[in-house]
C-alpha cells in the first residue's frame, strides 16, 4: 500500500539520530518558551525561526513543527497553573483548568491535557497522511485562476473565523498583502517601495515582521500589565486523573479530536477555533455537568486541548499540499520553507518525498515526545513560571535580536524589527488583530503572481475567475462566508462565542 510505503519512508527519515535530536530540541525549546505567559506559538515560532536556518531543510522543518506543538502545549500548562493563557487557543483551557488547579487537581488537568493532545495528535497525523495524496492530486488540477480564488477563499475564511471586527481584519489582510509586495517585482525586475534602501530590494524580511508585530509588541504589552501572577506551584497534585475524571474525559477527548480535525483543515481554522468550538460543544452535549463548567470540569480541559492539537495537526494539510497557509502559524511555516528554497505546494510531495513524509512522521514522534517530556518535567516548567518577568524579557530580547541579525548577518534587519515592534504596539492599542496581516504578507507575492498569470492567459479578461467552474465554486464559497457572517443573528452568536470567556 502506498500509504504504508510513504509512512515507512517518513519514519526512516524522521528516526535518524539527528532528526530525532532536532525534534526533541524543538519540542523542548518550544515548551520552554511557550510556558512563558503571554508568548503564544506564533511569537515563539517567530523568535526561534532563525535558529533553524543553518540546518538542512528537513531537519529545520521537523524542528519547527516540534517548536509549534511544544509551544502550544506549554501554553496550556501556563493556562492551567497561572490562569494566564500563553496563547489564544488555550484561553478556554484557563476556565476549567485553572479551577481544577485551585482545587488541587492541577496534576490531573495537566495529564489530561497531555494525553488528550497526544491522542488527538495521533489521529490528526493519520488524517494528514491519508489525505495528503488525494489533496495533491486535486491541487494539480489547479490553474492560476483557481489558485487566486483559493487564496481569496483562504483569506476570507481566516478573517471570518477570527475574532473581532470583520472589516478591520480584512483591512489588516490587505495591508499585509501590500507589505508583502515591497521589494523587487519578479516580472519586471523593478524594485518597488524600497526608497533606494538596498536592504529592501529583496523585500521586507518576513522574520522582522513576525517577530516585531508578535514578539516585541507582546513584550511591551506585557510590561504594561505588570504583576498579579498567582502560581499554583506547590500543589500540582497527583498526575493521574481519578476514575470519574477519566470516564468524563475520554468521550470529550474523542469529540474534541473529531471537531478539531475538521476545523483545522478549514481556512482560518486551526487550533484557536477548534478549541472554542470544542468547549461550546461540550457545554451543549453534557447533561448535568458535575462540577459545572467554569468550576473545574475536566471535560472543559480535555475537549479543547484535544481539539486544538488535532486542529494544529490537520492545518498542515492545506499548507503542505496546496501551499496555502490556513492560519498565521502555517504562514510562518511557509515562510520558513521559502527561506530554505522550498516552494510550498503540491510539487513538494513528489520532488521532495523524504522531506514531506519525514515531516509527517516526525509530527507523531514529536507528539509522543511531548507526553514523555512534559509529564515528568512539569516541575521544571513550574519553576520557570516563578522567574520574574523583568529578568525574562531582556533574555528573550537578546535571543530575538541575535536571531534576526543572523538571518542575513545584517543590522538593518534588527532595526526593521524594532520598527515593526512599534507598528505592532499600535495595532495592539487599536485592537487590530495582527494574525491576518502575517497571512496576507506571505500570500501577497503569490497572489499577485497568480493574478497576473490568470489574466495573461485570459488575455486581460477578468471573467476568467467566474467562468472556470472550480474557481467560481471557490469564490462563491468565499462570498457565502461573508454573507453568512454579516447576517445579524449569526454575527451576534459569533460575538458571543468569542466573548463568552472574557
Amino acid at each position: 500500500m502506498d500509504l504504508i510505503d510513504n509512512l515507512a519512508l517518513g519514519f526512516s527519515t524522521a528516526l535518524t539520530f539527528a532528526n530525532l535530536a532536532y525534534a526533541f530540541a524543538g519540542v523542548l525549546i518550544g515548551t520552554l518558551i511557550g510556558v512563558l505567559p503571554g508568548i503564544g506559538p506564533i511569537a515563539t515560532l517567530a523568535m526561534l525561526l532563525p535558529m533553524t536556518y543553518s540546518l538542512e531543510p528537513t531537519s529545520a522543518l521537523i524542528m519547527l513543527a516540534g517548536i509549534y506543538y511544544g509551544a502550544q502545549y506549554g501554553g496550556s500548562t501556563t493556562a492551567i497553573l497561572v490562569n494566564l493563557p500563553g496563547e489564544s487557543s488555550s484561553v478556554v483551557t484557563c476556565i476549567d483548568g485553572y479551577q481544577m488547579a485551585r482545587r488541587g487537581r492541577a496534576g490531573a488537568a495537566l495529564a489530561t491535557a497531555a494525553l488528550g493532545s497526544f491522542f488527538a495528535g495521533t489521529v490528526g497525523t493519520l488524517i494528514l497522511a491519508a489525505l495528503a495524496l488525494p489533496m495533491v492530486e486535486l491541487a494539480f488540477k489547479f490553474g492560476p485562476a483557481e489558485y487566486f480564488s483559493l487564496m481569496v477563499l483562504g483569506l476570507i475564511g481566516a478573517v471570518v473565523l477570527a475574532s473581532g471586527s470583520l472589516v478591520k481584519a480584512i483591512a489588516m489582510i490587505v495591508l499585509g498583502l501590500l507589505l508583502g509586495l515591497v521589494g523587487t517585482d519578479v516580472n519586471s525586475g523593478v524594485a518597488r517601495f524600497n526608497f533606494d534602501v538596498p536592504e529592501l530590494a529583496d523585500g521586507i524580511g518576513f522574520v522582522s515582521v513576525a517577530m516585531g508585530v508578535f514578539g516585541f509588541a507582546e513584550i511591551i504589552a506585557n510590561l504594561e500589565h505588570k504583576g498579579q501572577r498567582q502560581v499554583f506551584t506547590d500543589k500540582v497534585g497527583k498526575l493521574l486523573p481519578n476514575r470519574k475524571e477519566f470516564m468524563d474525559a475520554w468521550p470529550a477527548v474523542l469529540r474534541g479530536t473529531a471537531l478539531g480535525s475538521v476545523l483545522g483543515v478549514l481556512p482560518g481554522g486551526g487550533a484557536l477555533l477548534a478549541a472554542f468550538a470544542a468547549y461550546t460543544v461540550e457545554k451543549k452535549v453534557t447533561r448535568n455537568p458535575d462540577p459545572p463548567f467554569g468550576q473545574g470540569n475536566i471535560r472543559g480541559v480535555a475537549a479543547p486541548e484535544s481539539a486544538n492539537n488535532a486542529g494544529a495537526q490537520t492545518s498542515f494539510i492545506p499548507m503542505l499540499t496546496l501551499g496555502i497557509p490556513p492560519n498565521a502559524v502555517m504562514a510562518l511555516m511557509v515562510g520558513a520553507m521559502t527561506i530554505h528554497n522550498i516552494q510550498p505546494g503540491p510539487q513538494v510531495m513528489t520532488s521532495n518525498p523524504s522531506l514531506f513524509w519525514g515531516l509527517i512522521a516526525s509530527m507523531w514522534i514529536g507528539n509522543l515526545m511531548l507526553v514523555v517530556l512534559n509529564l515528568p518535567l512539569i516541575g521544571i516548567w513550574v519553576q520557570l513560571l516563578k522567574v520574574p518577568y523583568r529578568l525574562l524579557y531582556p533574555a528573550i530580547l537578546v535571543f530575538c535580536c541575535i536571531g534576526v541579525y543572523s538571518i542575513n548577518n545584517n543590522s538593518f534587519d534588527v532595526l526593521m524589527t524594532a520598527a515593526f515592534g512599534a507598528l505592532g504596539y499600535l495595532f495592539y492599542k487599536l485592537r487590530c488583530e495582527p494574525a491576518p496581516l502575517i497571512l496576507g504578507f506571505i500570500l501577497g507575492p503569490m497572489m499577485e503572481e497568480n493574478l497576473r498569470r490568470a489574466m495573461l492567459l485570459s488575455r486581460g479578461d477578468p471573467t476568467v475567475f467566474f467562468t472556470r467552474p472550480l474557481s467560481l465554486t471557490l469564490l462563491l464559497m468565499a462570498a457565502a462566508l461573508v454573507v453568512i457572517v454579516a447576517l445579524p443573528q449569526i454575527s451576534r452568536t459569533r460575538e458571543e462565542a468569542f466573548h463568552e470567556v472574557d
Binding site: 472589516v167 478591520k168 509586495l181 541579525y405 534588527v414 532595526l415 486581460g460
Partner: protein
Amino acid sequence: MQIRDAKDFWSGVMFAGFGVFFVVFARQYDMGTAARMGPAFFPTMLGGLLLLLGAVVAIRGLTAQTKDGRVDRFHFKPLAFVLGAVVAFGLLLRPGGLLVSLAALVMISSFGSDEFRLRDVLLLTVFLAVLVMIVFIYGLGMTVPVLPVFLRD
C-alpha cells in the same frame, strides 16, 4: 462631530493612510494593462481597496454605539526602552561587537520595567553574555564580531 469609537476611528485613519501611501508611491511604476500587469497594477488595486476599507472603519468609528471606544493609554516607557534597546543593539553590533551591544540591549531594555534592580541586571548581563558566547559563537559557530573595533586584531 463626535468620535464614538476612537479605536475604530484611528484604525480607519491608519488603514486609509497606508492605502494612500501605496497608491501614491505606486504611481512611479508602470501600470501595464489588465492582460500584462505592470508592477504598479496590483499595489494600486490593493491600496485603493485599503483606502476604502479604512474609510468604512473610520466612519463606523464615528457612528458606532459603544461604551468602550477609548484608546487605552500608550505606555511610552516600555515602548521606548524595549525598542530603543533593540535599535541600540542593531547600531552597536558592527562597531562595538557582540558583548558591548548585548550589554546595551539588556541594560537599556531593563529600564522598561518598573522593577529595575541594578544588581540583578548586571548579573543577568553576565549570565546572558556567557550563554550567548557558548551557544552562538562556540556552539553554532556564528560569525559576528565579538569585541569592539579597537580591540580587534
